[in-house]
Amino acid sequence: MVEAIAKEIVLRKSYLPDSNIETIYFGGGTPSVLSRLELELLMQTIGEHFTIAADAEITLEANPDDLSQSKLEIFFQAGINRLSIGIQSFNEDHLQFLNRVHSAQEAENCVRLAKQIGINNISIDLIYAIPAPDHSILKSDLQKAFELDVAHISAYCLTIEPQTVFGNWLKRDKIKPINEEFAAVQFEILIETLAQNGYEQYEISNFARNKQYSRHNSSYWKQRPYLGVGPSAHSYNGTSREFNVANNAKYVQAIQAGSIPATYEILTAADQTNEYLLTGLRTKWGVNSGKLESLSGGKFAMLHQKELADMKKNGWLREESGSLLLTASGKLFADRIASDLFID
């Protein structure tokens, strides 16, 4: 598999408009299972066919139970300079509810360990809106994050998708649907507490100290081209998006035969406008009015005069130096606002 991925990198070396690489992200699933040799193979292949910037952000996604001292050392030596750790919670009960294999102690330890080894740029994932009688666990989770002094926090609202374990539990009345009011209050507590402790909400679910934003994820929101390799990976070159086949065997077979097993969709002007709205409004940079006009072929402001005026009047949207930004109350309705501004 890893060899196939390395081969795909070679096959796709001309996909991106230029060969300078600013960020690399090992993610989706558990890339922490990679061995030293595998990781080195991938890094080496990228290095041979692309120019990796000296200050490139190289992130690896990992679960706390995978982050042993030896693993962390391998990652550090391979050039990984940022970790995104799926901590979810520092509370034992909540971890159990979320069906996680790691313990609260492991969650805490791995952050300290990573820092000792020299990976200082650490992001942790936290889940909020987990059913609880009050907000004390959320608050203690945040306190623990502050104590560990992580650079970045991604906080996601618990969502129950159909055809998942939670989805089935919901169907069988084993759990209650997420209480919207509870989730909204937790979201508000989260934003406020993080702000008080120096974490800036630069995207709906992402918070950073000292501008240590995820440069990689920010690229998605700025419509910058990216190349994804491996089964199920997706790529974007500015006008179309490609999706690799999800099936591992099919993926490896195709790559070995020298072809890319991908389907793609061409993004129309409307698609690009809508994606920009969808992702841009979630960020602290908002969406630039000029860019909206050029993406939409000059239609955007004309089509949405009334909606824009109403949204501003209702205090959901504000305009600042040529960009549209969500207000604090607008952030609770980011999807609704974006879709109301979509064009056909």
Binding site: C157, A184, Y236, D335
Partner: protein, 595 residues
Amino acid sequence: MKKIRNFCIIAHIDHGKSTLADRLLEFTKTVTKREMQAQLLDNMDLERERGITIKSHAIQMNYIYEGEEYILNLIDTPGHVDFSYEVSRSIAACEGALLLVDASQGTEAQTISNLYLAINHDLVIIPVLNKIDLPGARPEEIKDEMVELLDCKREDIIPASGKEGIGIEAILSAIIERIPAPVGDPKAPLQALIFDSVFNSYRGIEVIFRVKNGSIRKGDRVKFMATGKEYIADEIGTLGLAQIPKQVVECGDVGYLISGIKVAKEVKVGDTFTHIDRPASEGIQGFSEVKPMVFAGIYPVDTSEFEELREAMEKLQLNDAALVWEPETSAALGFGFRCGFLGMLHMEIVQERLEREFDMTVITTVPSVQFRVLNTKDKLMNISAPSEMPEPNFIKTIEEPYINAQIITKSDYIGPILNLCMDKRGILKNQVYLTSERVELQFLIPLAEVVFDFFDKLKTISRGYASLDYELAGYQESDMVKLDVMLNGEPVDALSAIVHRSKSYEWGKKLCEKLRELIPRQMFEIAIQAAIGQKIIARETVKAMRKDVLAKCYGGDISRKRKLLEKQKKGKKRMRQVGNVEIPQEAFMAVLKIN
């Protein structure tokens, strides 16, 4: 003329009229078995599915009886109270009628009212007891009922089964022996009674008629007496399984006329046509204009489809002369049409035909009857839409239409039916036992109360045993009020209704509750209020949505999420906006579901 017999079949829905007609056609070899589709006479899909005949037709059979060949014209009649005028014209074209009664169910209200129509037109009645093969048949009991009803001899009743083909020959013999040949003067000026019309998209309107006096030849110049319009008889003929063009249709016979008429409205059922050169002095009695009884707005679900809807309505009207409409504008629904229907079934049929034949999805607003309003300047106005209703302080009196309703039911259900009718502001006028088990109830009841769900409720509480027939019984003064609905203070015109004051509070409360279920939460709270004039009589609240934002949005999620939100937006586009509130189309139909 002596060899012609014109007859119709009077029967309640489901009592087997169409099946019996099929057997008659087969037995007289008018159609072969192979040509026979079940229920041949109902040739609209919709009719076949609903199992009722909406548009009446005629078919001619040839039958040799005792060595002589006879022409038998079977004139089919619609089976629903909405179309009672058309029934009366069909009956006027006949000399006799088969009274078909289901051997397990007995006579029903509709049957009886049509029977009286037939008797008033001096038709000879041939009683037929149908479905005698069914296990639940109670032939002796039902025969008693029929003898009493018709004052006929017991042995005159022909036992039959359309399904099994029992009694068909006896029925044919009775038609020839008991029903008189038509009377008329073949030499007199032409008088032909129009009792139906059929739309043919290639040939225009086919006029179905019965010659009362004189005769008509191909190429004759004719005049329709009520409309005053003149035509040339391009083609005439008689009606077999297909049309059979003829040079002449003789006195007493039934035929069709094609003369390039494009619009159904020009052909009025009940009208008489005559020759231009040698006109009859007057038309055949009994003509009247068909008047709509129920009114409602029809709007396209997608506002951009107004022109398509107009086209569809125009095409519908080509073969539905009873449908009337005019353009109407609603603040909530945009451009649409105010339509008049013969009744609720007719309204449903129009709606279904729009959907099936023209692929239009429409919103139908609260049905209303026509009120008579006398304003303070003593001007009498006909009001058939809430929006036309003047402000209360400009109204002197409001009158509403009443009907005489005739309900026949098993005596077990008298209690619940009485309660239902009282609840609908009805007054019991008469109660007659037809047999020890079956009773006929007569009520005076406001039409407005019947147009909603009365029939459904009647069927439910009587387990399907009660049947209903009605006729207009004039106008009476009533304490009616206009009930408005407001969303966040903005009135929604399409949800207004004219209701009786005694019902207005309950109506307002239920409507608000229903709307609360149907209106999705938005980013702000929505107040749903029902009001009479300035007075709020009910209120419900749709709580504000607290949060609408997905957790994650990275690389591959973006495409999926965009499509999800685009889909949501499409759904919203089908909603209507009043003030800042988005209303789904189902909400406009809420009124029909509040019970």
